[in-house]
Structure formats: C-alpha cells, structure tokens
C-alpha cells in the first residue's frame, strides 16, 4: 500500500504481532489567564495582529518579566490533578535559540527544575486500564506566530517574505510530558488518544484552559517508536507534530507504527526526527532532523526569582480541586445505574456533560440520555454540528422531558416541539403554547371525535364486543387521525374502552 508521501506501510495487525510500540506524548496547553505569562497584555484569541503587545512581550531592550501568579496556580492545579509531586523550589530557565517568533532570542521555560514531577493518569481503553506516567508538568511562554507570505505551502521555504504576530507571544503555556508508555501493544494508538482525551477533560474540569485543539490552545506532539517483541532496547523514536485533533492522535501513532515497521523489516534504520502529520491523508512527513538540533544552552533565568510554592498553599489547592472526570464518571455510573458500556456510549457521543446538566435541571437520567443520544444526536448528525453546539440548552431538554412526563405532550408532539425550539422559537413551554401543541384532554372536542369514530365503524365495535379487543386499535387510530395526533393515545384508548367494552360489562 502506498500513500501520497510514498511511505510503504505494513498491515497494522501484522506489525503489532511482531513489534512492540512505545509512545510518549508532549502536550502544550495554553492557559486561559486574563493576562500573559510575564506582562499585563491581554490573551484574547483572534485580535488584530500585534495589538496585544508591550515592551515585555516584544522583548524590547531593557524590559523585564514578572511571573503571572494565576498561571503558576493553574499549573500546580494541573500537576495535582495528574497526581504529581509539586516542587518546593524551582526556577525558570532560558532556552536560547534564534527565530523571529521568539522576541527575546530565548524562550522563558523550565528545564531541569519543573514545577510538577512524577505523576500519572489512568486511562481506560476497552474496559482495560492503562497507567500513563507523567514525567513533568512545567510552565513556559508561547511564541509568536509566523506568517510566510508568497510561498505555496505557507512554510518558510519559497516564501517571499514573513510577517510575525506577537499577540500569542508570552501567553502562558503548560507543557505536560509523559514517560514512555509501553505494553499497550495493538492498543497503543487508542491509549494515546484516550490519554489526550482524558487530559483535555481534566483541564476542562479545572477550568484553566478552553483546551480547543482547533484553535491551538491544546497542542500535541506524539513520540512513537517500535522494537521487535521481546527486545530489551527501545527503538528510535520519531516526534510527530501538527497533530490537531483527538482522532489525529490515534491516526498518527497508527501511521508511524506501520511506516516504521516497513523500514525495520527492510533493515533500514529509523531516523530520529520531527515529522509533520497531515490531516487530509493521515500520513506523516519528515521535518527538521533531531540530529542537527540546536544546543539550547539552558541556564536559570536571572530576571526571575525562584518559585517556592508554600506547602500549605499547595495543600489548599489540592483540597479545592473540583471533582475530576474519572471520579465523576464513577459517581454517575452509580447514581444513574449505568453499565460501563452505556457510560462509554455517552462519552463517545460527547454527551456526558449535557446529560448531566439535563439531569441537574430536573430530568430523569434515562430521559436525559434518551433525548441526547436519540433525537438530538440524530439532528446534530444531520446538520453536521457537535451535539453541544445545538441551539438548545440542557434546561430546555429537561423542560421538554417534564412536559412529556406530565402528559402535556406526547412523544410525537414532543418531537415537533423540539423542531421549533431548535428553530429558535423559544423554550418548549412557549412553543407548546404558541403553536397549540398540547395534548387534548377529555374535552368536548375529544369526546366528539371518540363518539364519531364509534358511530362510523359499527363493524369494529361489534368485533370488539365479541371479544376481539385488539380491534380497538383501529378506532384509536381513527381518533388520532381526526385530532391530528394531538390527543394522548392512552386517554383515547381508555375513553373508547369505556364506551365500547364498558357498556357490555
């Protein structure tokens, strides 16, 4: 099999029967602080280029950094949520290299003294728990953004000139680095995806970043290597960048495993290099080779004082951590009486949050799940949007569910109400009232319809009275038809029974 990149790929199942994959992930999370890491500039996404800058984040001569306390707190929270040890003393370091998107000629980062170390994150794939060990969580600043103009690729080669936007320069960035994850075998690609998914949910639960991969507020570099099963030494790893979605995390690992195996089978050495992932083809292509990597000449940042998080303060942050996703899922499984599989469906549909909110707004867990995984999932699918982006709130879904429970609307009417709510006509109750979609009670109108049905079908009445009770269904259908479905079928049946069967009994 060949791809546009010309890489030869082997069959995945074949490869993982002979090779053991090892993965490692470096995840960058842009924190949602109001101001940048070392200055007072705004961090709002999408502003006009270079409007959110000052002497500090432009690296003008003489300017000095002052560390953002909120960013340090958020990093400690992430470290605690990932079961890390929080350093009692650590420093920032300068990572020196030349590039126009680095205003100072160095990135202020952390090197051998990270803020958080030695944690882990458990992820579940197909019912099996995999422990991903966290080597470090550290704090640094983001770079600016280069825009290469005039080339076909948007890359620097072939471009006429380059523009730099420093709005992003200096936004606090947390880097979360795992230890090498081995032993996952064929599940390695899914473990990688499950790890990033879980990490994303944790950070969301902490509320310290919006973790939007498509906007780059969560970015992932995926390291992959393979070695023959039973080998003592790890294989040479490649580092795949530009992995911009959860699905891409899995695909990039899968691709690298198949590509590397083909090379190893041919006796070709794997080059330690950076590779770029291509969303369209699902393939990777080589970038800068690590073997010619720069010497960053790290040294402790003399413009900043060491960080010394007070133990009592760290402890207070630990106690104040919100319920984390894994604990929440366990609790909800219990409270809602779900099976693990049912929980997985909810997660895969991305519906856990909205279902929980719907339950919180008063719906039963079963009803809430039914709506979000059924009607609403179908509509989201049809319109190609995310479930959570549908123009309906969990409170409105709960309201609708309540109307059904009260018998004010039946299922058919409820679906119509939903359409109108999604069309922006207001909340469920408003729609019911405005559109007259409520179920008919035992009104004169309904009595008339019932009596008309009985009068119009003497043969059916005779059959029922002769004992063929199921024939009553035809009369129910007739009444529903005359009332344009606005009657409650159970009520109609009861009224018919009273009049047809009841007279004989």
């Amino acid at each position: 099999m060949t791809t546009t990149t010309g890489d030869r790929l082997l069959d995945f199942d074949d490869v993982v029967s002979r090779y053991e994959p090892v993965i490692g992930l470096e995840t960058h999370v842009e924190l949602g602080t109001v101001t940048k890491m070392f200055c007072g500039c705004s961090t709002t996404f999408g502003a006009e280029p270079n409007t959110q800058t000052c002497p500090v984040c432009l690296g003008l001569p003489g300017s000095l950094p002052v560390a953002n306390a909120a960013a340090i707190e958020a990093t400690v929270q992430i470290g605690l949520a990932l079961n890390c040890r929080i350093a009692s003393w650590c420093r920032f370091a300068r990572k020196n290299y030349f590039y126009p998107d680095i205003p100072k000629g160095f990135q202020t980062s952390q090197y051998d003294e990270p803020l958080c170390v030695s944690g882990y994150l458990d992820v579940v794939v197909d019912g099996e728990t995999h422990r991903v060990e966290i080597e470090r969580v550290h704090l640094e600043e983001d770079t600016g953004k280069n825009l290469h103009v005039g080339g076909s690729t948007g890359r620097i080669h072939g471009a006429d000139h380059s523009l730099v936007d420093y709005n992003r320069a200096g936004i606090p960035l947390v880097e979360i680095v795992t230890r090498p994850v081995s032993g996952a075998g064929a599940k390695a690609p899914e473990v990688a995806k499950a790890y990033v998914t879980e990490l994303r949910e944790i950070i969301q639960a902490l509320g310290v970043s919006d973790v939007r991969m498509e906007q780059g507020s969560l970015r992932c570099d995926v390291n992959t290597s393979i070695a023959p099963v039973g080998a003592l030494e790890m294989g040479t790893r490649t580092e795949t960048k530009n992995v911009n979605s959860l699905r891409s995390v899995e695909r990039s690992v899968r691709y690298e495993i198949r590509r590397q195996a083909a090379l190893l089978d041919e006796g070709v050495r794997i080059r330690q290099e950076t590779r770029h992932f291509h969303e369209d083809t699902g393939s990777t292509s080589p970038g800068r080779s690590k073997e010619e990597a720069t010497d960053y000449r790290y040294f402790p940042e003399p413009d900043l004082v060491p960080l010394a998080p007070d133990a009592a303060w760290v402890e207070s942050l630990r106690l104040a951590l919100p319920e984390l996703p894994a604990a929440r899922r366990a609790r909800l499984i219990q409270e809602w009486g779900l099976s693990d599989t049912e929980m997985t469906w909810l997660l895969n549909a991305g519906a856990l949050g909205v279902v929980a909110e719907t339950v919180a707004a008063g719906a039963s867990p079963a009803e809430a799940r039914k709506w979000w995984l059924g009607e609403l999932a179908r509509r989201a699918n049809e319109s190609g949007t995310e479930l959570t982006d549908l123009p309906i709130t969990p409170a409105q879904v709960a309201e609708l569910s309540g109307l059904v429970a009260e018998g004010r609307v039946n299922d058919k009417l409820a679906r119509q109400v939903l359409d109108h709510v999604l069309a922006g006509e207001g909340g469920p109750t408003e729609v019911v009232e405005a559109r007259g979609l409520a179920v008919l009670g035992e009104s004169d109108e309904l009595v008339a319809a019932v009596e008309a049905a009985i009068a119009g079908a003497p043969d059916v009445v005779a059959k029922v009275r002769a004992g063929k009770v199921q024939a009553l269904g035809a009369l129910v259908g007739q009444v529903m038809k005359t009332t344009k479905g606005q009657a409650d079928a159970a009520t109609v049946r009861r009224m018919l029974e009273e009049r047809v069967v009841g007279q004989t009994g």
Binding site: P61, L64, F98
Partner: protein, 520 residues
C-alpha cells in the same frame, strides 16, 4: 566650600545646592539648564561625554518646572536640577543606543523605571552619556561612537563602562549622572575621575529599562561630586519596583541621612576591615604604589575619626575575575540574542537575496563591536552542553564562596565581624587612551577590586582619596546587603575630613587646572 573662584558658575554647584537655590527661587531651572548646555557646547567637543543632547527639550522641561513653581505648585527638592543618564537607560522617545551600532536610531516607546522616577521628581534630562558598547569595558573605548576623554587629562581614559557619565560630572557638564555597574562600571570611572560612585545592593534599584548586560549583576547607581549628592540621587531612583522581579520589597535604608551623619566626622566604634587580597601584603602586584599610599592615608584619616581598622582575609576574592568573566558573558550571550534585526534597530542585508539566518547573522556581524562579539562567543561556549558545569556551574560556586567570605568578614553583627570592608577601587590611576585596547586581560584587571561586591550583590561605594601623579585615586567601601547607608556614612566622613585637611575639594584642583589651560 563656596569660596572657590568657580563657585559663581552654576555648573560648579552641587546638585543638592542647586536644588536648594531652585526651591528658594534664587535661580531658575532654565538658567541652570542653560548653564550646563553652554558648558556642554564649550567642552564636549573635546570630552565627548554625551552621545545625545537635546537642548530644546531640556530647556522646555526646565521652563515647565519654573512655570509650575511660579504657579505655586508643590515641587520636590530635585525639581529643575539637571541630570545626565548613561545611554544604557531606556528613555521614551529619546535615542538609546547602549553605545552600540546595532541600536543606532532606536527611540524607545517607554521609560526605564529610574528614568521615570527622575522625570517624576522634576529633574531635567540634559542628555545620554557615552559608554562602552553594552557596558562591556573599563575605558569607554569600546563605544561604537568614539572615545570619551578624562577631564583630568584628555589623553587618558575616563574609566568605563560609565565613562561618559564620569567625564560629564567631573567635567561639570552635568551636576550628577546615572551610571550602571555590572563589575565596577560606576565605581571604577568614578575613581578615575575623582567622583563619588555607588553600586547599590543588587535589587535595591530597579533594572526595568536598563539594557541588560548581565542580569544577575547589573545595578544602576549614582555618580556625583559629593557623597551627599550621590545619596540623594540614589534615594530618588531606589526602592521597590513591581516591574523588576529581583527588586527588593520593603523599607530601604535612609541614605542622605547616613551621609549627613558621616559628615559629622565621628566614626567611633565603626570597625573597618582592609581586604588583604585587594592590594594587601602578598597581593600588591599590579597595584601602583601611589594608589596604595593614598589608600593607607585614607585609613589613617578614618582611624583618626575613631574607626577601628584591621586586616581581613577574603581568600576567594582571588577567583572573582575568573568567575566574573564566565558569568557575565554567559548572561550577556543570552541577553544580546534579541538584537537580531527583526523588531528594532539595525537590519543589514535584507535586500531579498538573503534568507532569514543570513540577515540575522549579517546584522549582528556589522552591528556588534569586537569586545561584544568576544564576550558573546565566550558566553555561548561557557553555556554550551557539555561545558556548562565546568564553566558556568563552577563560576556560580565561586560566587557562593565570595558571598561566604563577605558574610564571615561581616560576622553575625554582634561584635566579631567588621562593619565595612575597604580596598582601593582600582589598582591604578587612569591609564592613557589606547594603552590596553589590544590586551583584554590587562583591561579586565581594571575591575579586580570591584568584582567581589558585584558577584556578592552587596553595596560598594568609591570615594576620592587624593591624587597620584596628579590623577584621582578611589577608595572603595563595601558593606553587607541593604547596608548601603554604611557606605555613605563612612565615605562622607572621609570626604569631609580630607576636604577640611586639604582646604578645598579634590575636584576644585581640576577646576583650577581648567583655568590654567586644561581641557577647555
């Protein structure tokens, strides 16, 4: 001291005296400013103390001060007093080059904290003074914009790197000025031009807006003709600044008060330690006899004022030079990375034929001078992987040792230690222009005595203690962290006693020389 012939000239008044006269309405800020601008016009052609003078703006600022005073506004004691700033200090809208070609024409969009504080105090900025490029040097010969001459002898260097400031103040082209000191760049030029120069405790004066040379060492400080003026200027720029993370919060010592106390002349109970390793027995090689003689005389004066003088050994001071020339270049190599031609300053070769790396390299190749390149290479090497521990790591250990030597000399404060340490400020008097430009090691030796306090982050002052071969000699007084007031007290005592014995100030001899065919 107001009986000397030059006293009628406004440029010969102390800054504190100018402040008093301005406050009393006896002189106008415009007159004071104009007097200094006239003096600059007359003498700076020879001295070349200034890189940038904007007389119009200075006069406008002075006029605004006069108008405010006429309107009855409450003004501070420095309102209307002129000042000169070393060109390493970033000034909004005013060219700031740090003595480098790579920043030619750069007009910063912001003020350094020290500049902003002086502006807020109502001082009048006369101009920006010459310096060794990026403060790397001890003679101001490394400026990209030409050498500055010593007012005592125009064929000699004014010291460095704050040589423009020292020449301006000693030459009476400014009543006082700011310098910066990384390894001695305030104290050494002050010593060589007969001025008082103080390097504050690291963290006691904001570094925000000083173009960084070596971040863990740089400090701005005063250069003045009297100890009291230096203390007053120090107080005006000092204190905590939230924009500088290394700035020390809380109360800082009272300095002008310490200077006044010292001038009273009583040093009873003050214990003075003479550092053997800085020109003492067995360590006198390279020290001029005239320098050592003046220092010995100063010690005798201090003893006469009641101080106890004893010798103290600080063995690791011998390692200071080696450690300094690893730490400072290492930090400089990183600090100077931002000069890449992308955002500000010089850009060379961007004609469409070269790629990014070539333009950056060409800009730095042509924008930096030889000494700056030498130190960038030195620092890059010292930080590179595989050498880091052997060079930068070892140098940091030496730094810790030097700090310990200071700590054990000063003791725990209850009797055993000394209150201050003293030494010559420099091993020699001002050397001739060009004498050491081809011998970097000899040039570096000019900072031998000033480096230990720089590495320890402790305060140190240089105060004149007489002439050797007709050239000024500096006496260095070092104190513990945040005990800058001790430097001022002892310096003021020495200054007052020697002025009284001499019957005039040392700098008056320079003024007398001027009238008999000096640099003017």
């Amino acid at each position: 001291m107001t009986t000397t012939p030059a006293a009628t000239d406004l440029t010969h008044l102390d800054a504190a005296e100018l402040g008093r006269l301005l406050g009393a309405g006896e002189v106008s800020a415009v007159d004071v400013t104009r007097a200094h601008l006239d003096r600059i016009a007359a003498d700076d052609g020879l001295l070349h103390a200034y890189l940038h003078v904007d007389g119009e703006t200075a006069l406008a600022t002075a006029a605004a001060v006069d108008a405010a005073r006429a309107a009855g506004d409450e003004l501070g004691p420095l309102a209307g007093v002129p000042v000169a700033l070393k060109d390493v200090v970033v000034t909004e809208g005013v060219p700031t080059t740090s003595g480098s070609r790579i920043l030619e024409g750069w007009r910063p969009p912001y003020d350094a904290t020290v500049a902003a504080r002086l502006k807020a105090a109502g001082t009048v900025l006369l101009g920006k003074t010459n310096m060794d490029e990026f403060a790397m040097g001890s003679s101001t010969e490394n400026s990209a914009y030409g050498v500055t001459r010593n007012p005592w002898d125009p064929e000699r260097i004014p010291g460095g790197s704050s040589g423009g400031s020292s020449a301006a103040v000693a030459g009476h082209l400014a009543p006082w000025a700011l310098g910066t000191d990384t390894g001695g760049s305030i104290r050494q030029p002050a010593a060589l031009t007969g001025l008082v120069g103080h390097k504050p405790t690291y963290g006691s004066v904001s570094r925000y807006g000083l173009i960084a040379f070596s971040s863990s060492l740089d400090q701005a400080g005063p250069m003045a003709r009297t100890v009291l003026d230096a203390a007053v200027l120090h107080e005006a720029i000092g204190g905590h600044d939230p924009r500088d993370s290394t700035s020390i919060p809380g109360q800082h010592p009272l300095l002008a008060e310490a200077a006044r106390l010292g001038a009273g002349g009583d040093l009873t109970g003050v214990r003075i330690g003479v550092v053997r390793e800085l020109g003492g027995e067995g360590h006198a090689e390279g020290y001029e006899p005239g320098v050592l003689a003046r220092v010995a005389e100063a010690l005798a004066v201090l003893e006469g004022l009641g101080a106890e003088v004893r010798e103290v050994s600080c063995p690791s001071f011998d390692l200071a030079l080696a450690a300094y020339y690893l730490i400072a270049p290492s930090e400089a190599s990183s600090n100077l990375s931002r000069f890449d031609g992308v955002r500000f300053g010089l850009r060379v070769g961007d004609d469409g034929s070269r790629d990014l790396d070539e333009v950056m390299a060409l800009t730095r190749e042509q924008g930096f001078g030889a000494e700056v390149k030498r130190r960038i290479i030195l620092g890059t090497y010292a930080l590179s992987s595989g050498y880091y521990e052997a060079y930068y790591g070892q140098a940091q250990k030496v730094r810790t040792l030097i700090g310990r030597d200071f700590a054990s000399a000063f003791g725990s404060g209850d009797g055993d230690g000394v209150d201050v340490l003293v030494s010559p400020t420099t091993p020699t008097v001002a050397f001739p222009l060009g004498a050491r430009v081809d011998d970097p090691i000899a040039m570096y030796a000019a900072d031998l005595c000033t480096l230990p306090a720089s590495l320890a982050g402790t305060p140190a002052i240089s105060v004149p203690c007489g002439l050797s071969d007709g050239l000024p000699v500096g006496f260095q007084i070092m104190a513990p962290t945040l005990a800058d007031d001790r430097c001022y007290r002892v310096a003021a005592a020495l200054e007052a006693a020697q002025d009284a014995a001499r019957g005039h100030r040392l700098l008056d001899e320079l003024a007398a020389r001027r009238t008999t065919g000096g640099p003017a």
